[in-house]
Amino acid sequence: MSERTRDRHWVPPMELDPTRAAAVPAAEEEAIIAGPLAGPLSGSAAERLPALLAEDRPRSRFGRWLAGSVAALVLIALGFDTWDLFNRAFATSAALGVLVAAAVAVAGGAALAMLLRELRALRRLRKIEELRGEAGRLSTEIVTKAGEPGHAERFAGSLTRLYEGRPDLTPALERVRDHVTDAHDDAEILRLLDREVMGPLDRRAYQTVLRASRDTAVATALSPAAVVDLAVVLWRNLKLVREIAALYGARPGYVGSLRLLRRMLANLAVAGVAESAHHVAVEALGGSIAAAISTRMGQGVINGLLTARVGLTAMHLCRPIAFGPDNRPSMGQIRKELLSLPKQVL
């Protein structure tokens, strides 16, 4: 940057006409205030944000071609079969034909509706991921460029919109809006949102995880057959993931839950939940001591710990603002709770 360009940008200190001045985050503040009134997905600010964390792994292009072509083949085959069925039904009798046609229409409509709902849920999930990416950028970016401030206000607006219709969060959002002044920078607003809005949610999510892991532990310990507790654990884990996602505002559908589960399986080993080898060893040891008391009890504890891991990973994946180094949830309390379980039951 040469001296001249600096000069061109330089403005001498001066006083200006007070009547022409506008309060700073004018546009952005409108967004926050209008937040609860605007539709949930109607052109929200978040959609304009760059999708930063939309997909973690680049998927293989050939895989996508394969999936697409197989799906198309199946659809065409289905179409042929349906058409055949139509013809045969009408050939037999008109009444049967009408019945089949009605069934096909209802099935098609229902499938379409489900698809739409799943898409909406997926979009919500993706929006949370986008928000998380944006939050990460805002909190690490030290200086906001002079011309384009107010990202954090926009972020707050998107978050408010995400949590509309959640009376439990309204007071917290109100409080943040009340505390934020024109002197706060992006990182500060983000920290405020993190503490005031996310903090209580984290506590509730943690309780949910605790409950679920206790449930699985007890169920495994008391179940008469291995098949039963496998089913119980699977069902409870899926339910836990959905509960946590709903708590953070994701409301995932079936596809969304599966996607979450898949990403979680990928993350289970690497995300911040996975603690050091030391902790794992302690868990295993704790498990083996419990196992010495009772094999079933030991299995229960280990299953409970696994559920807790799944739950904490879900928390990481569903939170619109990523956990910082000092507020990430730890296995500590859950582990203590679970290891005291044999005592309680015996």
Binding site: W10, P13, D17, P18
Partner: protein, 471 residues
Amino acid sequence: MRVPIFNDLYDAGSRLLGRAGDLVSGGILEQDVRLGVTGLRRAGKTVFVTSLVDNLLKAGRLPFLDVVSSGRFQASRLRPQPDAQVPRFEVEQRLAELTGPIPRWPKETQGISQLRLSMRYRPNAVLKRTVQPVATLNLDIVDYPGEWLLDLPLLHQSFAEWSALTLELAGRAPRDELSVSWRGWLATIDTAAPAEEEQARRGAALFTDYLHACRRSDNLLSLIQPGRFVEPGDMANAPLLTFCPLPGDRPRTRGSLWALMEDRYEAYKSKVVRRFFAEHFARLDRQIVLIDVLGALNSGPAGMADMKRALELSLEPFRHGSSSWLDWLLGRKIDRVLFAATKADHVASHQHNSLRHLLDRLVSDARAGIRFEGARVETMAIAALKSTETVVTEHEGRQLRCVRGVPLGRDRPTVLFPGEIPEDADFPPGQERPYNFMAFQPPADLAREARGLPHIRLDQAMQFLLGDYLE
């Protein structure tokens, strides 16, 4: 002659006794923390303390103070201060001035003052919670002039060393013009001649005039040593304050003017500086140093350079005395220091970061030194009382972020673009008068919402300074 070891031992002994007394008289149940508030003149100490107290009493605007935001804070109230001989900081009167029908900035404080604020809160730490469900923290705010800090380095300097340094500084621009008459007088006297009180008084008067001139000057010179010459407190005209630096070496004759001045310099050190160090400074737990960076920027590169030097000198004491062998005897030491650029509301909010970076550069040496001693150091851009708001306006097709407020001495609000601080330098290159930071009046209607004075990052400052005590 220096016999500091005995003095230090004496101080340490009395402090140990004092601490033992604390423990016996319920010091276990109530925790005390001493917060030193200092800053050079016009840095905003008085408003800072007033706003701090008001905000802690009402606790309505402290989202970044953990104890408040997590709902563990119960209440706080003013209590009688522990040191009966120190003047009380009259917070009620200053608050009344600020929040009255015609808001005014409170008058500056002279000398040292103290205030105790007790806070009740529910501890978060498990151990503490089981011992006492509701804990009390006594916050003793000690407000003292930053000029006194500038004196502490004198403890390590002999009269000859100090004289040489002071004379060298006085001969340099922009101080040379201010010290003309005093240096003229120095040239006429004979330092080896027998001492006469009249002569000493004359020299001290000229030297004091020079220091006053430095302080008043447009360049806002900050390095004023010894501090009591301009802030005498109760010591005006005492012989302790009638000396001045002398040129040359120590003459051999006894009873010379030099010997008289040296005696008085040593007396100043032991009666004024050491006393302040032992009675107040060494007992502090936390320290906030307020710095009027914008004022120095307003006064140009010379003022900035002078402030940097004054800062370096005044931060010397934080390093001294913490690593010596006396450390474990002295017990307490300052373990957190916050440097705060005050009056951040005089610039638009997006400039706070540049202001902070500038402060970082100003204190970087001191910061490294203090960190090395094991204390935590932080810098912030704060405003104890937010008297402007940031607005956007258009100028020649560009969006300018400005501040809106009522300037001092006017009755209508104005919108001011005060100039922008570059991110990586103190001054934009090649500009004659790059900044015009104005003073604003305190906003009207401060008392309407009873939730504490509006501020910028005061809560974050409190969190850094007191957060761990309130866990």
